[in-house]
């Protein structure tokens, strides 16, 4: 062991051979990424980056307007925030209920391929079809107002939740599931005893992340006339009332932080 080079056994020699396959694969993927980024460099005008520094002063001037929040309407903003939370709560709740179902159907380690493929495509569509289409769709049925917003958020969110939840499911340890399978547990038992306990912490954080996103959502709620904090922000922002906008930002940052802290807490309990 002192001079390991002296005499190597043939077995060691053999394993010392360089392994090309992996190196080649890595190099190729790095190259593809580099080429794509290079090709997008000018179209995306990334070449303007020096301006980020030369014209940083402009940013400062813009930001300065936010430094004097106007708290006169704070109570109203908090009320708007609660309004949004009402809608986000229902939107999240409904989409999580459905999302659990669809995410399991779109997980390769839980459902057979002929179910996974169409379910995934369906969920892709729920995400890809612009939320506004769903918003108007529900306006046609239930009229303007929160309900149409909730439903539109819910459908879009279902697509996202299913995707995120199923990524979590696909990264579980399959051994406990095998344990249940071989104890004679049925398919649903495998899910309830083997899959859910493993993904629960991740699922609950992801749910709270989506809840937070819905609370921030403005476009859909705006178009169906459901109001909410995001919409109020737009109003102020578009009217250049940066002092009010700053207050709304503060309200939103605090809410998002609270939700995030809740999610950490929940996680700790669940892990």
């Amino acid at each position: 062991m002192d001079n390991p080079n002296l005499q190597l056994s043939p077995a060691v020699e053999k394993q010392l051979q360089p392994r090309w396959s992996k190196t080649v694969a890595n190099t190729v993927s790095a190259l593809v990424l580099a080429v794509l980024l290079g090709a997008s460099y000018y179209p995306a005008e990334i070449n303007n980056w020096p301006m980020l520094f030369t014209d940083a002063g402009n940013m400062m001037i813009f930001l300065k307007d936010f430094l004097h929040p106007d708290f006169t309407d704070l109570v109203m903003f908090i009320q708007k925030m609660l309004e949004t939370i009402y809608m986000a709560l229902w939107g999240t709740f409904l989409s999580v209920i459905a999302g659990v179902f669809f995410s399991l159907l779109s997980s390769n380690n839980v459902a057979p391929a002929w179910i996974v493929f169409p379910t995934r495509r369906l969920m892709d569509s729920a995400r890809a079809i612009n939320e506004l289409v769903f918003a108007i769709l529900f306006v046609a049925a239930v009229g303007l107002g929160p309900m149409a917003g909730v439903m539109a958020l819910c459908v879009h969110n279902l697509g996202v939740i299913s995707k995120l939840f199923s990524e979590a499911v696909e990264s579980i340890d399959m051994r406990p599931v095998e344990g249940i399978r071989s104890s004679g547990g049925g398919y649903l038992h495998e899910i309830i005893y083997g899959v859910i306990p493993q993904v629960l912490p991740l699922w609950s954080s992801l749910t709270l992340y989506r809840f937070e996103t819905l609370v921030r959502s403005a476009t859909v709620l705006g178009i169906v006339g459901a109001g909410g904090i995001g919409f109020t922000f737009y109003e102020s922002f578009r009217a250049f009332q940066y002092d009010r906008a700053a207050t709304i930002i503060i309200v939103m940052v605090i809410s998002v932080s609270l939700i995030d802290m809740l999610s950490s807490r929940l996680r700790k309990i669940l892990i």
């Binding site: 108007i136 306006v139 046609a140 239930v142 303007l144 169906v224 006339g225 919409f231 578009r238």
Partner: protein, 311 residues
């Protein structure tokens, strides 16, 4: 829809306003409820698409629109213009503008139309009447040019975005309108306003119409129309004063409504039809040209009857 609806749904498009919309429209709507005897529910939408489709499916009864979206409400959602808002100053409309930075060296439309390809242009949102359609017609179509061939770069944004871009010198010329440039920006950002100057002004654009659903019960329509026309006009001076105050605090500050009709939209319709014709000509689309010409002729005929601008 023969019985009276239990509730009247009033769709309001949230434009760039300075006060909270609910506070702003609340008193007016309360008066409306009192007068009509039905609850009126306000919906503030960031975009007209929801209100128009809502109207199409009878979920919205009255809407406050811009000229261009009102066309959609009329054509698509069986709506009808019945009133027009005016400014509390009595102005019956506003103007579309081209603006530049005070130090840009550009002073007139001719300077812009030199089209030397060295400048950048901030166009409006393609759905904006004053930001896109009006300059598109009067500045570009009538002069047989397009922004794309005139400028080094064309970007599009809303009025605020364009104003900032001009004030900070990020674009050389941009579209805007009198309401944004002279009412809103000076209030919120006087420093920026001082850096901007106007170099071209369009003909008058009639101010925003009120649209109702054509198939509302006749009785209700009469009540609504009566409410809008009398409000701030009829009655004791105290009542008028009170109502005028309410109007002055609604939206950007309104005066009493004027009666109006679909004819208010003729101007904008003509602009749109003309643009269609130009586009068809450019594409060599013979059928399209014919269609656009027919539409223009039809509009002309209507205008001959009801008067240009519907007055």
């Amino acid at each position: 829809a023969n019985g009276m609806p239990k509730q009247l749904n009033f769709g309001i498009i949230a434009t760039e306003s300075t006060t909270t919309l609910e506070d702003s429209f609340g008193p007016l709507v309360k008066e409306m409820e009192k007068s009509l005897g039905v609850p009126v529910k306000m919906f503030f939408a960031s975009d007209y698409a929801g209100i128009i489709e809502g109207m199409r499916f009878k979920k919205v009864d009255i809407g406050w629109f811009g000229n261009k979206s009102a066309i959609q409400a009329v054509d698509r959602a069986n709506g009808e213009v019945f009133a027009q808002t005016i400014k509390d100053s009595g102005e019956r409309g506003y103007y579309s503008l081209l603006i530049t930075n005070k130090d840009s060296g550009l002073n007139s439309l001719e300077d812009v139309l030199k089209c030397d390809g060295s400048k950048t242009f901030g166009n409006g949102d393609p759905n904006s009447t004053s930001g896109f359609a009006i300059p598109g017609y009067y500045v570009w179509a009538l002069n047989n040019k397009t922004p794309e061939e005139c400028f080094k770069r064309v970007v599009s944004s809303n009025h605020q975005g364009n104003a900032i871009a001009v004030a900070t010198g990020k674009v050389d010329v941009a579209t805007n309108n009198t309401e944004t440039l002279y009412d809103r920006i000076p209030k919120t950002n006087p420093k920026m306003a001082g850096k901007i100057k106007e170099i071209w002004r369009s003909p008058l654009i009639p101010s925003d119409p009120m649209v109702w659903r054509k198939d509302l019960p006749e009785e209700l329509k009469q009540k609504i129309l009566y409410f809008f026309i009398q409000f701030g006009r009829f009655g004791s001076p105290e009542k008028v004063k009170k109502e005028r105050d309410i109007l002055a605090n609604t939206s950007d500050g309104w005066g009493p409504f004027l009666a109006s009709s679909d004819a208010q939209l003729l101007d904008v319709r003509q602009i749109e039809a003309f643009k269609k014709k130009l586009k068809a000509e450019r594409n060599g689309d013979k059928e399209g040209i014919k269609k656009a010409e027919a539409e223009l002729a039809q509009l002309k005929k209507t205008a001959d009857i009801v008067g240009q601008g519907g007055y």
